[in-house]
Amino acid sequence: MKLEILCAGIGGRGVLLASTILIEAAIAAGLKASASDEYGMSQRGGSVVSLVKIGDFKSPLIGRENAGILLSFEESEFYRNLTFLKRDGRVIVNTHKDALPGEVERLLKERNIRAYLVDGDGIAKQKGMIKASNIAILGYFSSLRIAPYSYENIKQTIVEKTKGKFLEKNLEIFEAGFRQAEGRDQ
């Protein structure tokens, strides 16, 4: 199998942790995986992109309209990276809004791209850890059941990758993100 995932967000908000969980989970499932990170000159607050490639690839880079999945941990970074998402792809956008601009909605529809708007910040804030909105997004992502990413697989990797006192909160937020998907029409 081959799968290309682009994680986009802002520096200091856990984009790299999310991609680490994604590649470790893929490797735990017996697949080949690599990642490549892009962060500009800003130490904090700048655009950060982390590319995850699962399967038999040689390079860790993703081309235009090649990513099957786009995980945007911030809304502007979704627009900035939309050119990488392929037709029939899927995107999760961390936003408190319940609709995307009309033009964008039309484009996604025309390309058969499914977009899921999830208020990851809201979920994380409610649980008292706003910086963990990435985990809420991963929780939601696990509900899509795109191989090798099952709920159990990602959860297990979070358990292995998160340290001590944050683990419990992270799992709570992960769970809440996953629950958010309940009642979504498939």
Binding site: M1, K2, I10, G12, R13, T20, I23, E24, I27, A28, G30, L31, K32, A33, S34, A35, S36, D37, E38, G40, M41, S42, Q43, R44, G45, G46, S47, G55, D56, F57, K58, S59, P60, L61, I62, G63, R64, E65, N66, S76, Y79, R80, L82, T83, P101, E103, V104, R106, L107, E110, R111, I130, K131
Partner: protein, 727 residues
């Protein structure tokens, strides 16, 4: 077999970035000394070596050097005396190390010397792209170009052995994509790594193995070795690709995507070397071949026969013309010289896909539809995308310094330097950015030029603490000696922030966490003969502004360098300045920080004890000399820990809710202060604070005309940082 054991037991493969993979390969090869100066994208290699030496309980001397030349020469010294040594740097760091490099290559080493010089195509975090391979060839030193983190680990191991065996220095040149990509790296016991160079035409990988470890090992065993790789001459193909490093990996993926993996053969170049170094090596072909004999002498035999076996060749390499120049066969080649490959910038996936599609179509190898659909861009035209230009962090002390510099003299000349603080460029507080230490020398040059023209302009240079130790000392001494008239702000945040918080000489901490002697900037500055020195907390913006103005007054009160006769009164004049400052009440109450960690001044948000220390060289031998000496640069040390490295103290935290509350939408805090935590809400036309980013430093209160602090500043220093006249 890779096994993921629960409960943290030892595994024999793990995910790591390319730089750690290099570190792993070096440690497995038994290196004994490693020295480096941090520079993106090379900075993680030395910490990786520290990590693995601790794990493997090896005796490896590791050190952050003050600059690349020190790193190179320390490593070279160890190599001459029989040790296996390595040094690491970024591509422009190699320039700093060059003096020893040029001559050193001919010295007989008893041990081995591996130089890792990381290139930065793009460039993403450098002043310029620079291809390390060009310098390697110029100096006749073999250079390896890894295509992936796993290959980088192998090449690092191989390079140490090659250098030890052949007694020549060797360079490894990873590009940033290799240095920073992450993948599974197999771990071997010390001395136990099995490496075969993957030079030559690569076999196509067929089915995906569900066992990743098996595919890694398969990959290895199917390697065509260095000398044996001779492509099937009978298979004369119309078109082939020669590629090196990350460009090879991308080209392979692109060809697979386009369904051409079995149609277009790809020759992978791993090693480049020239005869003067290793005339025993069989990869160098001395026979008279081909149409341009000079260049073909330098072309490895296998590569030459690959090129002979195809009609047209596309050469993909980063970032300069090296392989393309060596092959010399310009009629056959698609490359940079005939414009098929861009002459600058990174060869990204999209760039390589476009190049391959273009060449494949032109050679009629296949028909590839170009993806010229701009529908996505069209749909996004009306959408507001929050711009995120590179900015200093929220709460960064550099921002406060720059703001004060601009408020003090909006029309000054601002020579800048290399580090996070290069970003001061967008605040108009950095006018030049040349190379490490360049700020000091340029300031001196500007000062001379303006004095010559009889035109006195404030010149305020900025340099970070690590950069000051790297390249500022000789420059500052030169300026003191020649009595240049400029202000130098040393932005001392106690760390090498941009490259990942490596300790500076001032902290006295070494890379493996042990302590050595500390070197305090103020001691160095006074030791170099600087007579005006103030140490302050940049968060105290009003004091910083007044101190910069005081420094300028000091410079202008220096008698002209021509008036020799006045020397006595000059000295009087000076000693009075010294007395004034030397008796400052703060001077003895606060001591600079020792090695116990970086502790910026104890300060209070509303009532900061601003001047940490006034220093002057009152007991300097200068006072007893009767030779005229006329001032020289004024130095201000703006000392406060990097916000990412040292948390704000409770007493530094300000309530900035009033920024939102009283906002009139003038955007001054955004345009002049540029804190990334301040966002302008287009709907309400007011500023909102991003709680996720704001550290509550309170600095923006000085930039806001509706706040008490801002009003006060306006009364004293005028409206803002806007220039009075165009330059």
């Amino acid at each position: 077999m890779m096994e993921k054991e629960k409960s943290g037991r030892k595994t024999d493969a793990e995910v790591m970035i390319g730089n750690y993979a290099i570190a792993r390969g070096l440690v497995e090869a038994g290196i004994e000394l490693a020295a480096a100066y941090p520079g993106t994208p090379s900075s993680e290699i030395l910490p990786g070596i520290v990590e693995f030496k601790k794990r493997e309980k090896m005796n490896i001397h590791t050190e952050w050097s003050v600059n690349e030349r020190c790193a190179m020469e320390v490593a070279f010294g160890a190599a001459l005396s029989g040790h296996k040594a390595v040094c690491m740097m970024k591509q422009v760091g190699l320039n700093v190390a060059l003096p020893s490099f040029l001559h050193g290559r001919k010295k007989k080493m008893e041990g081995s010397l591996v130089i890792v010089s990381c290139d930065d195509p793009g460039p993403q975090s450098s002043q310029t792209e620079q291809d390390t391979r060009l310098l390697a060839l110029l100096f006749g030193i073999p250079v390896y170009d890894p295509a992936s983190p796993a290959e980088a680990a192998d090449l690092a191991y191989y390079a140490v052995q090659y250098s030890f065996e052949h007694k020549v220095p060797v360079i490894i040149r990873p590009t940033h994509r290799v240095s920073h990509a992450r993948e599974v790296i197999p771990l071997y016991p010390i001395g136990g790594r099995k490496v075969t160079l993957q030079e030559g035409v690569q076999k196509q990988q067929t089915a995906v193995s569900s066992q990743p470890s098996a595919s890694i090992i398969d990959n290895r065993s199917s390697i065509i070795d260095e000398t044996g790789s001779s492509p099937d001459a009978s298979r004369l193909t119309a078109f082939g690709v020669v590629a090196s490093g990350m460009s090879y990996s991308i080209a392979a993926d692109v060809l697979a995507e386009l369904g051409l993996a079995n149609t277009v053969p790809v020759y992978k170049v791993v090693q480049l070397s020239v005869p003067i170094i290793d005339n025993r090596s069989s990869i160098i072909d001395d026979r008279e071949t081909g149409s341009s004999p000079d260049a073909s002498r330098l072309t490895p035999h296998a590569l030459r026969s690959f090129i002979d076996s195809v009609d047209k060749v596309l050469v993909l390499e980063e970032t300069d013309i090296v392989i393309e120049a060596l092959t010399g066969d310009s009629k056959k080649i698609f490359g940079r010289r005939n414009g098929y490959v861009p002459g600058a910038g990174e060869l990204t996936y999209d760039v390589i896909r476009d190049i391959i599609a273009n060449v494949v179509n032109e050679t009629k190898t296949a028909k590839v539809e170009s993806v010229s659909d701009r529908a996505i861009e069209e749909a996004l035209k009306g959408v507001h995308v929050q711009p995120r230009p590179p900015k200093l962090c929220a709460g960064c002390p550099h921002r406060a310094s720059f703001y004060a510099m601009r408020r003090a003299f909006p029309d000054a000349i601002f020579p800048g330097d290399i580090g996070c603080y290069t970003l001061g460029i967008s605040m108009g507080a950095v006018d030049t950015c040349l190379d490490m230490g360049g700020s000091v020398n340029l300031a001196a040059g500007f000062s001379d030029a303006f004095v010559q023209d009889g035109n006195l302009v404030p010149i305020i240079a900025s340099i970070g603490d690590s950069t000051f130790f790297h390249a500022g000392l000789a420059a500052l001494y030169d300026a003191v000696k020649k009595q240049k008239g400029f202000i130098l702000v040393i932005m001392d945040n106690g760390t090498t922030a941009m490259t990942g918080m490596q300790p500076t000489p001032q902290t006295g901490i070494t890379v493996d966490g042990t302590y050595t002697r500390t070197a305090r900037i103020e001691d160095v500055v006074t030791g170099l003969g600087v007579e005006f020195l103030r140490i302050l907390d940049p968060y105290d913006i009003p004091v910083m502004i007044s101190t910069i103005r005081e420094a300028y007054t000091y410079l202008n009160n220096q008698p002209s360098a021509i008036s020799d006769q006045k020397s006595v009164s000059i000295i009087d004049n000076r000693s009075s300045i010294i007395d004034e400052t030397g008796s400052s009440p703060h001077a003895s109450s606060l001591t600079p920080n020792g090695p116990s960690g970086y502790e910026p001044s104890a300060s209070n948000a509303d009532n900061r004890s601003s001047i940490i220390e006034d220093r002057a060289t009152s007991d300097s031998p200068r006072t007893s000399h009767l030779v005229p000496s006329f001032g020289g640069p004024a130095v201000i040390i703006a000392r406060r820990g990097c916000i990412l490295n040292s948390k704000l103290k409770p007493e530094d935290i300000c309530d900035v809710g009033s920024i939102e509350k009283n906002c009139i939408g003038c955007k001054k805090c955004i345009t002049e202060f540029e804190c990334p935590a301040l966002v302008f809400d287009e709907e309400t036309k007011r500023v909102v604070i991003d709680d996720g980013l704001c550290v509550q430093c309170g600095m923006c209160l000085y930039a806001c005309p509706k706040q008490e602090k801002g009003k006060k500043l306006q009364k004293q220093y005028g409206k803002g940082t806007t220039k009075k006249k165009a330059k």
